[in-house]
């Protein structure tokens, strides 16, 4: 199991990584703002939340994939509460960027939520085929992708969403999910294959008719 030995290198007394890796924050959130947020500056907190609420909301929405949509807003808020509480311990010099660290917290919180048995049932959503009369092809495709992603087993869905929609590389995904690199790669391969097969079954014309990679 890989633990966050980079981000929390000081916990293990390992300072070599701290000097080897330059301080990384996200381009749109300067280091000063992060440091002010670490000291509890509410203005800086607001800046941090506004910078990251869109990706966090998108990640949670996609991971829930149709389950308990009413919980998305709760989970977004809870993510940021935990982020702000743990922020003083975040190492700017660690290998994980602030955004990856925040997405890690959002992911784990959502996975915990998904373990609640009552969330196993999907919220009612009309199947893709029933929407053809009132939606464009793209909306139909979106609905089909949503349904196919929701149908993936949770471990595959998480890896796929983090990789395809949130640009995390294999190493980051391994750290977020505390998996080894090989497991991440195999789960991703299985997820992609299953997604393509499911989509082909749902909307064969749309899948076969398109060329080139997605945007």
């Amino acid at each position: 199991m890989i633990h966050n030995s980079g981000t929390f290198a000081w916990l293990a007394g390992d300072t070599s990584q701290m000097t080897a890796v330059a301080a990384r924050t996200d381009e749109s959130l300067d280091e000063l703002t992060v440091r002010r947020a670490q000291r509890g500056d509410e203005q800086a907190w607001r800046g941090l939340i506004e910078r990251f609420q869109t990706p966090v909301h998108a990640l949670i929405w996609r991971l829930l994939a149709g389950r308990a949509r009413h919980r998305v807003e709760d989970l977004v808020q809870e993510t940021f509460v935990r982020v702000l509480r743990a922020l003083p311990g975040f190492e700017l010099a660690g290998p994980a960027s602030l955004s990856t660290w925040i997405l890690t917290i959002a992911t784990r919180l959502t996975l915990n939520e998904l373990r609640r048995p009552e969330l196993a049932a999907l919220d009612a959503e009309p199947p893709a085929a029933e929407r053809t009369d009132r939606a464009t092809e793209r909306q139909r495709l979106a609905a089909a992708i949503g349904a196919s992603v929701a149908a993936l087993p949770e471990p595959q869905r998480v890896v796929l969403v983090l990789r395809e929609y949130h640009d995390l590389d294999y190493g980051d995904i391994a750290r977020v999910l505390e998996l080894d690199l090989g497991t991440v790669k195999s789960r991703l391969a299985r997820a992609r294959t299953a997604l393509r097969a499911d989509l082909t079954a749902r909307i064969p014309d749309a899948v076969r008719g398109l060329g080139g990679r997605h945007a």
């Binding site: 633990h3 966050n4 916990l11 293990a12 909301h57 915990n112 991703l188 393509r196 990679r213 945007a215």
Partner: protein, 376 residues
Amino acid sequence: MHDDDETLAGIDLAAWQPPPPPAGTAGAVIARMREPAAVAALDPHERPSRRAFWLGGLALVAGAIVALTAWDVTRPARHGGGEVIADHARHVELNGSSADLDPGAQVQWERDRHRITAHQARGTVRWTIDDDDTLVIDPGGSGSTATIEARGASLRMEVPMNLSDLRLLGASTLTAAAVAVVTVVVYTGHVKATSGGQTVNVIPGAIVELRPEQPPQPPAVGARAADVHELEDQLRQANEKIAALTAELSARTVSHPPQPAPVATRPAPPPRPTEDTASLESPPGTRDACGGIDIDDALKQAANQLSAGFSSAALLLVRKCLACRQDTQMYRMAAMYACAAHDVAAVKEMLSKIPASFQPAIEQRCRVEGLTLGGP
């Protein structure tokens, strides 16, 4: 980021996009971060400071009320009601307002024009109240005196157990008080919470708990039933130990009359740490020879890491602290963190150093985390 894998080539994954995030998240989160100050009690003796201003405004308000009443009467009347026991997540439309029920929630409601009176017997419900509507919720059983009043608001209310259920079960008043905590989380709008004869305004982002015969208050940290039982166990054991020591002291006092205290020349070396005395060994917050770690600070960091989902990092921190201080409390904490980290070997290692009376609680925690400890 894209790699060389072509499995999904030709599929426009970007078509699947979430809706935009709701507005006000930052404000709600920041309000939660300063929660203790979030509940403002209403001043029952509030008086107008500028009498003339109020009198002048009164005429305007009266006129507005007449106009609004006339407008209201002309609108289609909205009446009705119903009851839902949700066996799965349910969305219930209340003619403009709505309720989202978690599985297991039970709600009964009645609408009279713009006033909705609801009884939430149990479970978790998210209420969204239209600006025109006023919702009055009575949580728990028929004997409950708590109410929530909301207008143009969204909130979540959790009622863990029905008071009447408790009465049927024959639970004591004390148990009922410990269990029947109604939690209200306000997202937006105006919400008043009343219990124990006191009404408070709950601002967006705040959480309040309602207990029988007590005023609304922010949630107490670490006051779960399991924690209470654990603390009660500790207190009982401490009392037993005090009683035994007192008895022993009395016996010694009888057989050996007190002697004048000898002049101390040099402090005796501290006894070797044992399970019972180890907690007295290290004063809190010491920076000692264990890598210069401030134990209290490190434990606080560990709690934050656990809260953020980094259970392995939290366990690692507690292990470092264990190198400096070994006592039952530390081992119990390490065992709990090991449960959260799903580290079976660490759980077993810590359990072997914890008195048997504390072990069931930790095993229970591991089971909650989905961890099976198996054999010894």
